[in-house]
């Protein structure tokens, strides 16, 4: 754009248009009454709130169209507080809009930058006052100060060390051992293959040793899903097939992506789906990932039956269960 084009000019602030209440005494009175009504509504709200709190029994349920059944005490208290605050605010705003001065005011805005002379003075001050300390010259002080300051900041970091133990091998191991019985969750009852029909799913945990307690940490690693298929549906190599028993296959229930419980089993497709991020695993192919963000199959637990006919683990899990971590060593 060339500069010799004449631009439109600023006509300045438009003329102020007065409100009705500014000139008409009746309109002013009306506005005043409206504000007062709003404040009175607020007061009524507070009475409703306190009244509901004190006098309304906690177990009264009332039906309100659209909203359905509501607890009367909770509703009265909530609506009361809502009215008390909302109408108090509305009153104040209405007051401001109808009765307080509404002509716009213009204020000057100054550049934030200081005057040149003040800036120069400032630089001079810093140089003089700061120079008096002589930090620039005294490199020994400067460096030792840097060292001391840096080291002092280390202490709080170091002191966070006792927040928790080192992971050691904990992420690699579970409670499953050779011969551990599979028990129902909940109930802790050992299971026989005949307890599961074809197509059924069950969540199991390792049987507790005497004196052991079931902790959430254990459940978070030990939870296993049992699924019984028709053995002809399996599409497994001979080793993985030998880890199944009578059409029953066992996988870690802890998702190999981010550790959610893989709880959704589609009987028709024989897919396991994690509700968190929709990783989908094909049960017939040893929980191979067929969709979603998970990069690894769910670890399979080798199972068989003991002499009494109860399901047991053939061996511990052969790989760490759950989400990946840096030290995890298996493809």
């Amino acid at each position: 754009m060339s500069n010799n084009l004449e631009k439109f000019s600023d006509p300045g602030l438009p003329e102020h248009i007065h409100r009705k209440a500014d000139s008409d005494a009746r309109a002013e009175k009306k506005a005043e009454r409206q504000v007062a009504i709003l404040f009175l509504l607020s007061a009524a709200g507070t009475i409703l709130a306190i009244g509901s709190y004190i006098f309304m029994p906690q177990d009264v349920v009332i039906f309100i169209p659209i909203m359905g059944n509501q607890n009367a005490a909770q509703l009265g208290l909530g609506i009361g507080i809502a009215m008390a605050t909302f109408f108090l605010g509305m009153g104040a705003v209405h007051w401001a809009k109808t009765l307080m001065p509404d002509s716009e005011v213009t204020a000057e805005r100054h550049t934030l930058r200081s005057e040149e002379v003040d800036r120069e003075d400032f630089v001079a001050t810093v140089k003089e006052q700061g120079g008096a300390a002589g930090l620039g010259r005294r490199t020994l002080i400067k460096r030792s100060l840097g060292l001391a300051g840096g080291l002092a900041a280390l202490t709080p970091l170091v002191m966070l060390r006792d927040l928790g133990p080192q992971p050691k091998k904990q992420l690699n191991t579970t409670s499953w051992e050779k011969g551990t019985r599979l028990v129902t969750d909940p109930g802790d009852r050992p299971i026989k293959p005949s307890d599961l029909e074809v197509g059924a799913v069950a969540q199991v945990l390792p049987a507790l040793k005497t004196g052991e307690e079931r902790t959430l940490e254990n459940i978070g690693k030990d939870a296993v899903l049992l699924i019984r298929l028709n053995p002809v549906d399996f599409n497994l190599d001979s080793q993985r097939l030998s880890w199944t028993h009578d059409g029953i296959i066992a996988f870690s229930k802890i998702c190999s992506h981010m550790g959610c419980a893989v709880a959704l089993y589609e009987q028709q497709t024989k897919h396991l789906l994690c509700p968190c991020h929709q990783s989908t695993f094909d049960v017939t192919r040893a929980a191979k990932v067929i969709f979603g963000p998970s990069a690894r199959p769910l670890p399979q637990l080798a199972i068989t039956v003991d002499s009494e006919g109860y399901l047991i683990a053939q061996q511990p899990f052969t790989e760490p269960i759950g989400p990946s971590f840096w030290e995890r060593n298996s493809a």
Binding site: A73, Q74, A84, L216, E217, G259, A261, P323, S324
Partner: protein, 530 residues
């Protein structure tokens, strides 16, 4: 002097003789604030923060932030005698046995959602109107800090009840920590005091949720507001409004009444929602146990985009030298959000670098007048919307009878294709709107009245627009692209040739503009007509 005046005068005198506040107060009570509905968005955030402090304090009186095992014995029958953490049991106690407890929980949760929604709306207003430009870059940075902390604070807050849904969220957070290369499993074990879930995480995040982060919020909000006060509020362009003035209403009494009143309105709305709209009914989920999960697990909306990113991630992991790197967690969980938030924080500096504009700006931009920035904003929003929609893919699948795989693939493709498309379309729309403004100024408003001239020709009567409107539509900055000078006066090639070339090219794109109409052009057209 009346009795009342004497008393007030006495108090004022007492305070002033000890603080000398009269001069400062006199000046600041007259402080002028411009009026516009979009300036209320930040106010909503501030007021919902106050509501969060009030309701949150109420909740702390009964909440027991402990993961010790208890047997529930309260008035909610379905969970009688169930083993659960004290945190979950006390949340049930607040919900069913403390009068008004459920109401306060629900107001707290609604206010948290409103807090995040209003912060995001405020952020968008500031972005699209260019309010972040010099001298307000620091306040933009504080704002980016606040929205980031808000996401963390919200997540920690809904994790505290230790129900099945929130416990699943913590499980996912633990997996993200665990995925950090080299130190991940250590960080996870330190944070959880051992194996997940442990017994210390809830008490620890409780301290962070009720003390550390609210303290940080208070400090940042204070600086945020002090800067607004000190630098004076921006204003929209219009007749009589310049870079050198601020037009609006004085703090006392108009703004005190309006702002104070508005706090009441915001409180009223959250209280109403808390009274009638159930939110996070934790008693339906049951206590957390790692072996169970509820279908349709969803985080709150401000985490949804993150969850959506994680969901759409391809199954990538590197296994080498006995170590595992989970790209499927690192990229969507840490790397992409890191790039997004860093880019957002740096944007004021990037734009100033590209445009070469180092002036102070107190007049806001109309978004159409800065097509490049507006298009960039639309692009980022589109990205966020695609990821957010994918974060609810399971709900969309069940509600709209679609396959989850279809939605996932649509998002995976859409997240790459749609944002650039949004950029191009938005930029075109902005330029068209600029041309429409130009036409409106030069040709006036189409009245729809047809007039037959004496010689039989029909013309539509155009009515000239008011001088105020003409000024508003033409007063904006006409940006100039930076020219890339490759040689200095002596013909010596300048260093950093590639960087300069890139900067010049971005500058040209940034300065693309339909020129504002001028009076000269209007006069020329006028004389041509007659």
């Amino acid at each position: 002097m009346s009795q009342k005046e004497r008393i007030i005068g006495g108090v004022a005198n007492y305070v002033d003789e000890r603080t000398g506040a009269a001069k400062w107060l006199n000046k600041n009570l007259k402080k002028v604030f411009p009026d516009h509905w979009s300036f209320m968005l930040g106010e909503v955030a501030l007021y919902s923060f106050v509501i969060l402090l009030l309701t949150g304090t109420f909740l702390t009186f009964w909440f027991d932030p402990s993961q010790r095992d208890v047997i529930y014995n309260g008035s909610y029958q379905p969970l009688q005698n169930v083993q659960m953490s004290a945190a979950y049991a006390s949340t049930l106690h607040i919900s069913f046995d403390v009068r008004g407890g459920l109401l306060m929980r629900q107001i707290h949760h609604w206010a948290a959602l409103l807090f995040m929604a209003s912060i995001i709306a405020h952020l968008l207003r500031v972005f699209f109107t260019g309010a972040f430009r010099k001298p307000r870059e620091a306040n933009w940075l504080i704002g980016v800090g606040l929205v980031t902390l808000g996401i963390v604070e919200g997540f920690l807050g809904y994790s505290l009840p230790d129900d099945l849904l929130s416990g699943t969220g913590i499980r996912i957070a633990e997996a993200i920590l665990q995925a950090i290369p080299v130190v991940g499993s250590y960080i996870a074990f330190f944070a959880f005091g051992g194996a997940f879930p442990g017994h210390v995480f809830i008490p620890r995040i409780y301290t962070v949720h009720v003390l550390l982060l609210p303290g940080a919020f208070l400090a940042l909000i204070t600086i945020h507001l002090m800067l607004v006060w000190y630098q004076k509020h921006t204003q929209y362009p219009g007749p009589g409004r310049t870079e050198k003035n601020v037009v609006g209403y004085p703090l006392m009494p108009v703004y005190m009444a309006k702002a104070g009143g508005f706090f009441g309105i915001v409180f009223g709305v959250t209280a109403f929602l808390g009274a009638v709209a159930s939110i996070n009914p934790i008693w339906l989920y049951g206590p957390y146990t790692p072996g169970q999960i509820s279908a349709g697990s969803q985080p709150d909306f401000y985490m949804g985009w993150l969850d959506g990113l994680v969901r759409m991630s391809p199954p990538l992991e590197t296994h080498a030298f006995g170590h595992t790197i989970s790209w499927n967690i690192l990229i969507p969980g840490l790397i992409v959000p890191g790039i997004l938030f860093t880019g957002m924080a740096l944007y004021p500096f990037i734009e100033s670098y590209i445009s070469g504009d180092k002036r102070e700006h107190h007049l806001l931009d109309r978004p159409r007048n800065v097509p490049n920035r507006t298009a960039l904003g639309a692009m980022s929003l589109t990205f966020m919307m695609v990821t957010l929609i994918n974060g609810g893919n399971d709900l969309i699948a069940t509600h709209f009878h679609m396959s989850i795989n279809q939605i996932m693939w649509m998002s995976r493709i859409g997240v790459f294709v749609l944002p650039p498309l949004a950029f191009v379309i938005t930029k075109r729309i902005c330029l068209s709107l600029q041309r429409a403004d130009r036409d409106l100024v030069l040709h006036g408003r189409e009245t729809g009245r047809l007039v037959m001239l004496p010689h039989g020709e029909f013309v539509e009567v155009h009515e000239p627009i008011s001088p105020e409107k003409a000024w508003t539509l033409t007063s904006h900055i006409q940006p100039q692209a930076l020219t890339n000078v490759t040689e200095d006066a002596n013909g010596v090639a300048k260093p950093k040739a590639i960087r300069n070339k890139l900067r010049a090219r971005m500058s040209a794109a940034n300065a693309e503009q339909a020129p504002a109409a001028t009076l000269t052009e209007a006069k020329e057209l006028e004389s041509g007509h007659h």
